[in-house]
């Protein structure tokens, strides 16, 4: 995929590749765009890359075309700490406006993670080994973790510290 890393890739192509590799992932897949390609590639290397402004050195999320603090268009991609605290969370109990395949995960938790770098990220919370929803609380410490769907596709989720 590297030779076309700066091009937009359609989800249907990714799904085709997933099926060819024998992976079985039935949830919505993200697409790589000209801005976000480095982020999705970083996930494959188990890095959660975020933009850092060359000028004011602030961190930016979601990926933007310029620094939302000072307007500088020169942004680096740097590995984040992956660490943060839960700002808020929702327990999903019904599938709405998304694919029906989520119903086999319900109930599950999606959190807003306030990361050390001063950004806020949506991420699904990994269920604990017994399959139950973590008894998570606001302000709990949590870390971004990586989900290898296939050799080609890695997504991210959240693990709450015990």
């Amino acid at each position: 995929m590297d030779e076309i890393s700066s091009y937009y890739i359609d989800v249907s192509e990714v799904r085709k590749r997933l099926t060819e590799e024998g992976a079985n992932y039935d949830k919505p897949l993200p697409s790589r765009t000209t801005i976000t390609a480095p982020f999705w590639d970083g996930l494959k290397r188990h890095q959660f890359l975020i933009q850092k402004c060359k000028n004011c050195e602030k961190f930016i999320w979601y990926p933007r075309a310029w620094c939302i603090y000072c307007g500088c268009r020169e942004l680096d991609w740097v590995p984040s700490s992956r660490r943060g605290r839960i700002y808020s969370f929702v327990v999903i109990r019904q599938v709405v406006e998304n694919t029906p395949s989520w119903s086999n995960e319900i109930p599950f938790v999606v959190a807003e993670l306030d990361m050390e770098e001063g950004i806020r990220v949506y991420a699904r919370v990994r269920k604990s080994n017994d399959g139950k929803i973590n008894q998570i609380q606001i302000n709990a410490k949590a870390n971004i973790v990586f989900d290898d769907i296939s050799p080609d596709v890695t997504l991210f989720s959240l693990e709450v510290e015990a």
């Binding site: 933007r64 808020s88 929702v90 109990r93 998304n98 807003e112 997504l155």
Partner: protein
């Protein structure tokens, strides 16, 4: 009021200038008519109406013209404001609607801030008339979000109606960073805000339930409302959790429908109505953030920024307000609006709701038509529902739910939910008669 030269105007302090602007705008324009079509869930098996967006637009425009005692010729060659719908529509929309209606427009505006579109169109119409570009502006929003044009090919339908197109966000945010993590539309996005509000201020479900119960009571008095059965607090607490803590009775029902209002020059008002409605105050704030930009406090919305300006323009106090028609996508949004518009302090919304009679004949009449939660949400321009109810009340046409001696009312428009934040577009409107 005597016209000031720019130099004279700029000599006034900012606060006085705002008053002068609004007096000028108020004297120049008024709302002279409105229209609200019946809504539909598009279920043919129940004998419900199946119409497309163009039909709802024409129907709403027709009702507004009749309400104003106007003919097509009164809006032909004038101005047109249109709200974008969820239903598929051309990229060039405003001029297309003019052509669909068979009118020439000399000032065309499209509002695309969702539920705040109605409020934005009112200001745009006011500015255009005040500037002398046109005398009259038809403001209309129709949306057959549940109906699809039979002639579109299957792939055109899929592309235009896919969830990727339905929300805000550059770079396919919804497609890449929202849907894949398991979020379920605006309900799940607002659920973060409710949980934070409850955690930070101790807001209780019973307090939110009172909002749902009161608005449902108002809906029973509104022949246009989609829900006609009253509910109790127990019904609210027991209603099914969708995105915990948000439950079914917090949510709107998406419907097809159309709404419109007509704004015209003050000199012409008496020709069309003896019940003009004026915009007294306006404040807007899009993409507000409270605290840090990266990690804002989401219990504050843009209404906290917009409302002081609106009240300042109008020169009124909260105690002067006769009713409140806040955009109500969820009960928590209404509770937060009470705080952010300034009826009570931040964090005290729950207690305010508990101690205040919010019925149409009480201390602060709230969403007297039932709001969208009980009357239904006619598509993307649905903020016009709360706005039209405000106009209706000020004209004394509220029927069984008429607020006695309604003189001044506050309406809000709310559009879109932003990634890990809250409201995208917030507008506070103060209307009077």
């Amino acid at each position: 009021m005597q016209a000031l030269s720019p130099i004279q105007f700029l000599k006034y302090p900012f606060t006085k200038r705002i008053e002068l602007i609004m007096m000028e705008l108020k004297e120049k324009v008024a709302i002279v008519g409105y229209g609200e079509t019946p809504v539909s869930r598009n279920k043919t098996e129940r004998g419900e109406l199946v119409l497309n967006t163009e039909q709802y637009i024409a129907w709403a425009a027709d009702l507004a013209l009749k309400s104003a005692g106007m003919e097509l010729s009164d809006i032909d060659g004038q101005g047109l404001a249109v709200a974008r719908p969820i239903a598929p529509h051309p990229v060039i929309w405003g001029p297309q609607v003019a052509e669909d209606l068979g009118i020439t427009s000399r000032f065309t505006i499209v509002a695309d801030n969702g539920g705040a579109s109605g409020a934005l169109m009112l200001m745009q119409a006011t500015l255009a008339i005040n500037a002398g570009l046109v005398d009259t502006v038809l403001c209309v929003g129709g949306d057959a979000q549940l109906t699809f044009d039979q002639e579109l090919t299957a792939s055109e339908l899929t592309r235009s109606n896919s969830a990727t197109k339905r929300t805000t966000g550059l770079l396919g945010l919804n497609r890449d960073l929202i849907r894949p993590v398991g979020l379920m539309g605006p309900t799940s996005m607002f659920a973060f805000v409710q949980r934070q509000h409850m955690s930070k201020y101790g807001t209780k479900l019973e307090q939110l339930g009172k909002i749902a119960v009161t608005q449902r009571y108002h809906a029973t008095l509104n022949p246009n409302a989609i829900f006609k059965q009253p509910i109790t607090i127990e019904d609210y607490l027991n209603s099914r959790l969708i995105a915990d803590p948000i439950r079914l009775l917090d949510c709107v029902m998406p419907l097809n429908g159309g709404l419109a209002f007509i704004v015209t020059q003050a000199e012409k008002v008496k020709k069309f109505t003896d019940k003009p409605v004026y915009m007294l105050g306006y404040g807007q704030c899009d993409n507000y953030y409270h605290g840090s930009k990266g990690q804002p406090d989401v219990t504050y919305t843009g209404f906290s920024d917009a409302s002081p300006r609106a009240f300042q323009m109008a020169g009124v106090n909260h105690s002067d307000v006769d009713f409140f028609q806040p955009y109500d996508d969820y009960c928590i949004a209404v509770l937060m609006a009470l705080e952010d518009v300034g009826f009570c302090k931040k964090g005290e919304g729950g207690k305010f709701v508990e101690r205040t009679d919010l019925r149409f004949d009480g201390e602060l009449p709230l969403n007297t038509g039932g709001g969208q939660i009980s009357a239904g949400q006619p598509g993307l321009p649905s903020g016009m529902l709360n706005l039209v109810e405000g106009i209706r009340q000020l004209r004394g046409e509220g029927g069984r739910r008429q607020v006695k001696e309604a003189r001044i009312g506050v309406v809000t428009g709310l559009g879109g939910l932003q990634y890990a934040k809250n409201v995208a577009s917030s507008i506070t409107l103060i209307l009077g008669n």
